[in-house]
């Protein structure tokens, strides 16, 4: 496939790995914040190509993993209502709430439908005028513009049985939390598809304010290795900067039209992140003018706050301070078939990725 195969060229991969070995004269730890990167790094066996003095750690960039139990409990509560159809990306189906999951609710007869796009949910709303369609909006700056377009379309077409339960989040504040939390690393492998929308300038405060290097990175093996090489050079030169490796999709300013859609529909709000707690201005909520689409306002449900399983260390893993191997539940009580924490459910979660690809 064009724009994929050429970036998986074995010769280029081995040459890049050689160059990395020659350039890596010190100790380096880089954090990938995107769950897509975590999955790609392990799927392509990138750690096995790196010398021992380069360590990669994962951050909080899997939206499923950072979504709180409270959100899943609300989704489950909605699914119990006879006049509600839940529409969701497949990623959320198996995420455990405090008692059950959407998958189990569907097995018990609830109307929960997996969709590919917000527009599909709108289609379901049109076909089912006597039902309330709740779309579970989850994802970062990559996904939120699509939800914004969907809401605007619902407004334009005067669809009055479509609602959004938003857990949309934005990356910068969480990355700043990690830095302030004192995690020790030399550079960020920045999320390429978030930056395709926001532009690399979204992250420029990191080198400027905290002197930590950033490279916006693509998702193929040569992309990842080239970025690691770029980060090593930044460290060696003691010149933290914001650079774009993923130039075929990312510019400094990003996709202005997508940003405009997102800004018109959403405004920042405080948001809960698993592993972090509430981070100010890190979530997206509907603006007043679109409030009638807010499921939380139109169809209020109450859920009882539950404590998360105390043995599960998803929180520490999401902050980059621990790895899945440090968790007593990993490969033991917690597996992809029977996940305890969200990091084991999501294909992009650290625990799921380590379980599948990491040879111990």
């Amino acid at each position: 496939m064009k724009y994929i195969d050429e970036y998986r060229d074995k010769n280029l991969i081995f040459r890049l790995a050689d160059q990395i070995r020659k350039s890596a004269t010190g100790e380096y730890t880089f954090m990938e914040v995107c769950g897509g990167h975590t999955a790609a790094i392990h799927r392509f066996g990138i750690p096995s190509l790196l010398p021992g003095n380069i360590k990669l750690i994962s951050g909080p960039g899997c939206p499923v993993c950072v979504t709180g139990t409270d959100f899943m409990d609300k989704a489950v509560a909605y699914s119990e209502k006879d006049d509600v159809i839940i529409t969701t990306f497949g990623d959320l189906m198996r995420v455990p709430g405090s008692v059950t999951s959407l998958e189990k609710m569907r097995a018990a007869g609830a109307d929960v439908r997996i969709i590919f796009s917000g527009l599909d949910a709108l289609g379901i709303a049109k076909l089912n005028p006597d039902k309330k369609i709740i779309f579970l909006g989850i994802g970062f700056e990559t996904t939120a513009p699509g939800t914004a377009v969907t809401i605007k379309k619902a407004e334009l077409e005067n669809i009055d049985n479509f609602y959004l339960l938003s857990a949309h989040k934005t990356m910068p504040a969480a990355m700043e939390e990690i830095i302030k939390g004192g995690a020790s690393f030399n550079g960020f492998i920045c999320p390429g598809h978030v930056a395709a929308v926001t532009g690399s300038s979204h992250f420029s405060f990191i080198p400027e304010k905290y002197r930590i290097g950033c490279v916006v990175t693509g998702f193929e093996p040569t992309d990842l290795l080239q970025s690691i090489l770029m980060l090593i050079r930044q460290v060696n030169l003691n010149f933290p900067d914001i650079q774009i490796q993923y130039r075929r999709a990312v510019t400094g300013e990003g996709n202005i039209l997508a940003q405009k859609q997102m800004r018109e529909v959403f405004e920042p709000c405080d948001a809960f992140w698993r592993g972090f707690g509430v981070i100010p201005s890190s979530g997206l909520t509907l603006r007043k003018v679109y409030e009638r689409f807010d499921a939380g306002i139109a169809i209020p449900v109450k859920v009882v706050p539950h404590e998360e399983n105390k043995s599960c260390i998803c929180g520490d893993i999401l902050r980059g301070s621990k790895t899945p191997e440090d968790c007593p539940l990993f490969r033991n009580l917690c597996s992809p078939e029977n996940p305890v924490g969200a990091c084991m459910v999501s294909n992009e979660g650290s625990c799921n990725t380590w379980y599948k690809y990491k040879i111990t």
Partner: protein, 76 residues
């Protein structure tokens, strides 16, 4: 979750396109892309084109990578 895949626009009707990737055809909303045309490659994410792929930049990245390759393997 932010997974986005390169896809080729094969037809456009209003603000929706049919895009092809890996032998499958998907629908993609073009509401965030200006001046999209048949034959362009876009990044497809959750049913929307979120960015056009720059052919020029894609080639440039490969050129840089091959240069690293040549520098390592060039005449001693």
């Amino acid at each position: 979750m932010c997974l986005s895949i390169p896809a080729l626009i094969v037809s456009i009707e209003g603000d929706m396109a049919e895009v092809s990737t890996g032998g499958s055809i998907f629908k993609a909303g073009l509401q965030m892309i200006s001046e999209a045309k048949v034959g362009d490659y876009i990044l497809l994410h959750a049913g929307f084109a979120i960015q056009k792929i720059s052919e020029e930049e894609a080639e440039e990245t490969l050129r840089i990578l091959r240069e690293i390759d040549n520098a390592l393997n060039g005449p001693a």
